[in-house]
Subunit: 244 residues, 2 copies
């Protein structure tokens, strides 16, 4: 069963893939399967080890090759958007009051951040601290809750991530319709309701917006810089106080 000819790069990938299927494999078996000599497999293994794949070999009769159990996972390619969503999820999970199964999340987050382009790193590094997870929403809030449209969440999230101003059409508590120009600086979740907090340019003040009361959201090209956290203390406290 010889596979069609593979370039060296492809063969390395193939070997790693075969080793992940923790069937008992010998170097000889690999050689036959990939249609190359034992010597070549041997060199490929050395190369894989050089490149950080922890191939383990049991010598002697009955031996063979394997990857350690810990190494179940190969390389994961994520798009920018997927990585960001992952970061948001991690932020949520990390802020749960009871992190027992997720002791190493910080390490994962570091790896994720490290894989971003340097120009994005700065923006992304502080992201986690600007997402707050509160408690559950009050019954009154729950009653009036409605899910968000994808365009709105897209615009808000992008504005939040890339620090760009967003133009909102908002229905406020009293039911009045207003247009705002907002820097989305913080996100807060009182399950299931998300809030955006930021500098409101029309009002020249920190304001918070219940996301499901936003009727339209349009991303602009105007960048903004982060304001000091303490400016938001009051707004955060306000939202949290909505709870019964």
């Amino acid at each position: 069963m010889r596979s069609s000819d593979l370039s060296r790069l492809e063969r390395l990938d193939a070997i790693a893939a075969l080793l992940k299927d923790d069937a008992a494999l010998t170097a000889n078996g690999l050689a036959e399967r990939l249609g190359v000599s034992l010597r070549t497999i041997s060199r490929d293994l050395a190369l894989l080890r050089d490149r950080g794949v922890p191939v383990e070999a049991d010598r002697g009769r009955g031996g063979g090759l394997r990857l350690p159990r810990q190494w179940g996972v190969g390389r994961l390619s994520l798009t920018y958007r997927e990585a960001v969503e992952l970061l948001v999820s991690l932020a949520i999970a990390e802020q749960l009051p009871s992190p027992w199964l997720i002791a190493n999340l910080a390490a994962i987050r570091r790896k994720l951040v490290a894989s971003f382009a340097p120009s994005l790193k700065d923006k992304i590094a502080g992201l986690r601290s600007r997402i707050l997870i509160g408690g559950s929403a009050s019954a009154a809030v729950l009653e009036s809750f409605s899910p968000l449209g994808p365009e709105i969440s897209e615009a808000l999230l992008t504005g939040f991530l890339e620090q760009r101003r967003v133009r909102l059409f908002y229905r406020d508590v009293a039911g009045r319709l207003t247009e705002r120009e907002v820097e989305p600086q913080w996100l807060l979740l009182n399950t299931p309701v998300w809030y955006v907090m930021g500098w409101d340019h029309k009002r020249q003040a920190v304001r918070s917006f219940r996301c499901d009361r936003i009727l339209e959201a349009h991303l602009t090209d105007v960048p903004f810089t982060l304001r000091p956290a303490r400016e938001f203390d009051e707004a955060i406290a306000d939202i949290r106080a909505i709870r019964p």
Copy 2:
């Protein structure tokens, strides 16, 4: 500024890394920087594209090479344990009632699962559905809550993931100390309290355990198989009913 000689593999990595630093780069610049000819760079770019890296090129004066913004993220290598913790985090985030910024988590989860060895996939695929996120714990529960030791959570989590029986020393509601032999089949979070549900071999019945009342947990080598979900309906309802 010529880097020390690189093998082709290394050069491909280097090019991808340089492109991630979205500095304006031309093929000629890369050639000088890496000490190879323009023709070689050109071929390397073709190779990268073959391997799925979406290198974009602007032709003409002022042009150059770049990766699209979306592509911030290269390849992420996670250990088995990290991947599992990531899956758990995803499960938690996905079960939040308001998933607006995390619409694509399912795609990420699929990629993650796909990167596992086939033999592990089965176990891991069903993992998410066996983690339940409830609401917040009641005041009464909160009062008696204490955080878990790392050894206990390690044993419980491993037992849950690898489907192996766990021996518990448990202080029950009445304060009695008992020893149990449990198959940890479900996890349930009423923030911040985790519960393990599973088949109790001493009692021959489904039982649930508040994790912070577990005094000791020892992993055994005895494997178990999953029981049908409906057997746990009652126990799940019970725990959820603890809330006020």
